[in-house]
Structures are given as C-alpha cells and as structure tokens.
C-alpha cells in the first residue's frame, strides 16, 4: 500500500527509483542455507546416479550368454521392496510434521517405523543379491549384471547410510531436543530419505519392470 502511494505521489515510477524506504531482507536464514546446500548435494547425487543409469541402459542387453533380467528378477519381491520404501518415506514425512510441532513421542515412533521399513527393504535386497550370486549370476557374470549390481547396490548403500543417519537423528533429538541445529540436520535427513525413494522409483521402473518386459 505504502509503495503504491509513494509511486503515485511521484508520478509514473515503474522501477520504484524514487522510493526511499527500500528495505533489504538481509541474508537468508540458516535453515534455508543449510537446506539449499543439501538440496544441491542431492541433485549432484542424482547426477551421479544418472551415470549408473546410463551405464545400465547401455549394457542391459550385454548378457554374454548369461541370464537376462526377465529370467532373474522376482517382481513380487520388487513390489514388496517398493511398498516398504514408499511407506518409509511417508513415515519420514510424519516425523517431519512431528518435529515441526515438537512432539517427541510421535517423532520417535514415526522414525522407528521409517527405520524398520528401511531395514526390511535392505533385508529383501540382500537376500535377492545373495540368491543371484548363489545362482551364478553375480556381478562378474556379464556386463549387464555388473551394471545391475553397481546401480542397485549403490542405492542400497545409500539406504544403509540413511539408516545410520536416521538412528543418529533419533538419538540427537532424544538427547538434545528440538534445537534449531538439530532440526536443520533433520530437514536434510528428510530430503535425503525422500530423494532415495525417488531414485528407487527410477530403479524399479527402468531396471526391474523394463528388464522383465524386454
């Protein structure tokens, strides 16, 4: 309102040059800086994953006479893994809300659910890998399987690191409460966990569903 009044008092002034009380917001809050920096990290992580995806896409037909994806993949397991990770992402969202309203019990419960679903995902994935290797379809069998283990294993390693981070966040919130710095770390963790789910969407579509269809 004040701006419009000043502008009209001085006549046409589209760039507000005559405005005297130009106020600047100052530097962004630490929460925005930390979150934005971590967002850049996640995007660079996705760029790294895109290299693994590119390698897999190029090599997916190079089975060297070995088994193809259609012969190896068990889509029922993949569906369960997907459900686990999706519900885990949802539980992480509930933990975000609990953190924002500073509700310790709800936060810890949501984080335990997030953690258990993530561990369930890892157990299924580990069984799948062990089963493939036992059937002679390990990463050294063909270029297709090398790129498969590299891509899916890299995602699994990220999930494992995420679970360690998750447990750290539970302990920190329990011991130190919802301090601003702890909440910033949790914001970054939530971004990380949701981003892993996005990578998994790409993996189950490109690797498993397209691999089984072809």
């Amino acid at each position: 309102m004040a701006v419009a009044a000043v502008a009209s008092a001085r006549g046409y002034d589209p760039h507000l040059i005559g405005l005297e009380d130009v106020s600047h917001d100052g530097p962004a809050s630490k929460r925005i800086i930390a979150g934005y920096g971590f967002w850049i990290f996640i995007l660079s992580d996705m760029v790294m994953f895109s290299c693994f995806f590119a390698a897999f896409a190029v090599l997916s037909g190079q089975t060297a006479g070995g088994p193809t994806g259609a012969e190896l993949f068990n889509l029922r397991n993949v569906a369960i893994e997907t459900a686990f990770l999706l519900c885990s992402s949802f539980a992480c969202g509930m933990a975000s809300i609990a953190a924002e309203v500073r509700y310790q019990l709800w936060f810890q419960v949501a984080m335990v659910v997030t953690c258990l679903l993530g561990i369930g995902f890892l157990i299924i994935e580990f069984h799948e890998f062990a089963d493939l290797i036992a059937r002679g379809a390990g990463p050294s069998r063909s270029a297709f399987l090398s790129s498969f283990f590299a891509l899916v294993g890299c995602h699994g390693a990220h999930v494992s690191a995420g679970i360690l981070w998750l447990l750290t966040m539970m302990a920190q919130v329990f011991a130190k409460g919802f301090r601003a710095d702890i909440l910033r770390r949790f914001l970054c963790f939530a971004l990380f966990w949701h981003a892993l789910d996005i990578i998994w969407v790409a993996i189950f579509s490109v690797v498993y569903l397209l691999g089984s269809a072809a």
């Binding site: 009380d21 917001d25 925005i32 760029v47 949802f90 809300i97 996005i198 969407v201 189950f204 569903l209």
Partner: protein, 129 residues
Amino acid sequence: MSDSHGLPQQADLAPGDEEVVSVNVRVLGYLVGLGLAVLLTATSFFVAGTNLVWQPSIPVAIIVLAIAQIGVHLVFFLHITTGPDNANNVLALAFGLLIVFLVIGGSLWIMANLNDNMMPMDQLMHMQR
C-alpha cells in the same frame, strides 16, 4: 526478483519446508502423495505384466508413469513447488535434470550409434586371424 523490489517480500522456503499450515492439512498432503504414488506404482506393475495393452507401448507407459510418480514425490514429499518462494529450489532442480538427461540421453545416443556402425562381431573375429 526485480518485479518485487522494495515491496514486502515473501521469505524464501528451504527445500523440504512447507508453507505454514495446520498439522491436519500437512498430514492430508502426505496422504494424498502416498495415495497417488501407490496408484502410479500399482499401474506400473500392472502394465508391466499384462497382455491387455498393446505390447510396444508398455516401455513408454512405464517410463511415463515413473516420471509422473517422481513428480508426485517431488511435490508432496519434498515440497518442491512452483511457488515464488521456491524459485531457487526449482531452478537448481531444473539444472540437475538437464545434466541427468544429457548424461543418460547422450550415452544412449552415442552407444547406439557406435553399435550401429560397428562391424558385426563374427566379421571382426575373422579379420583378426
């Protein structure tokens, strides 16, 4: 930014943060995201194993469903929206996507081209003798 010079500005949002709304609305947002994601995932798995649709369309359908689901996750879980307070986050995402598509698309293009131009393997073996 220049269009809002001197005007009371809306503060930016950190990626992952939402506008201030009540807890119920926020839980509802995650529930909507979960519902859409489940729907898209189920469709994806159904399409992959069905004979009801034209077979050559299946890979395209799976890719489209995956992109849609990634969009759902970005909006409902990561809260990356197109609001004015989210411009920096979206721009960073756009740049990331550019690199991702260059890497994947470029690799596929180059390798397919090389494959097409390469001599069939049996002839290559014959020459090496």
